[in-house]
Amino acid sequence: MSFSIKKQGEVVVVDVEGQLIVGNRQELKQKVLDELEKGEKKFLIDFSQTGYIDSSGLGVLVSLSKKIREQGGELRLANLNDDLQTLFELTKLDTLFQISDTRERALESF
């Protein structure tokens, strides 16, 4: 499991490879907060290579969304597979986040 970060235009794109769970959520949080501190405002987390997410992982996404908004930025999500979509629907987090089917659509939406 790992996170890779790259810049596409003005957007910081984070790929979550593997699981987003209690054991690695802090790593994701810190990486995104570091970028926020550098002045980045637009963030996209891409889940196309993600297995499963636990409640800690969901919690980190909620927390990051708040912190980014507080700094005047935006966080968007892309490429949830059917399982992850179900997870977001069960927790109603699909109503809290702007979620796109593809990375391209998400990038265009900023």
Binding site: V22, S56, V62, L90, L96
Partner: protein
Amino acid sequence: MGEPRVAFDLQIPSEVEYIEGVVELARQRCRELKISPAKCSLNIPVALSEALSNAILRGNEATGGKQVRVRAIISDTDLVFEVVDDGPGFDVDECTRDCTTEENLTKEEGRGLFLMRQLMDRVESFRDKGNVVRLTLHRK
């Protein structure tokens, strides 16, 4: 009807780094049993991960040197996972919070038990040589 059998019975150090390995083992066993793909890739990994992290962080209070026991039991009808820690136990109903309400939706924590109950057919907590959380999922 066959007798229920133990698919695995492990003692792991009470550290979150061990969760992913146990979950992967459970997924493998479930795939071998031809459990539906969604249950193998969503219900079981997430619910078991929640039960294990709850045992490690809350039951054992993230104290080094402790252990968590995890057993998988398979019958003709059900898959059962039991996660055992040294904590005092908890009331499942009292501790479950509806994380979908407007008030709770934006909170960082409080989705673990809710998810376990959404993704499993039954979630119980009881005392038996430690605090046992038992997750039951019907195979069909």
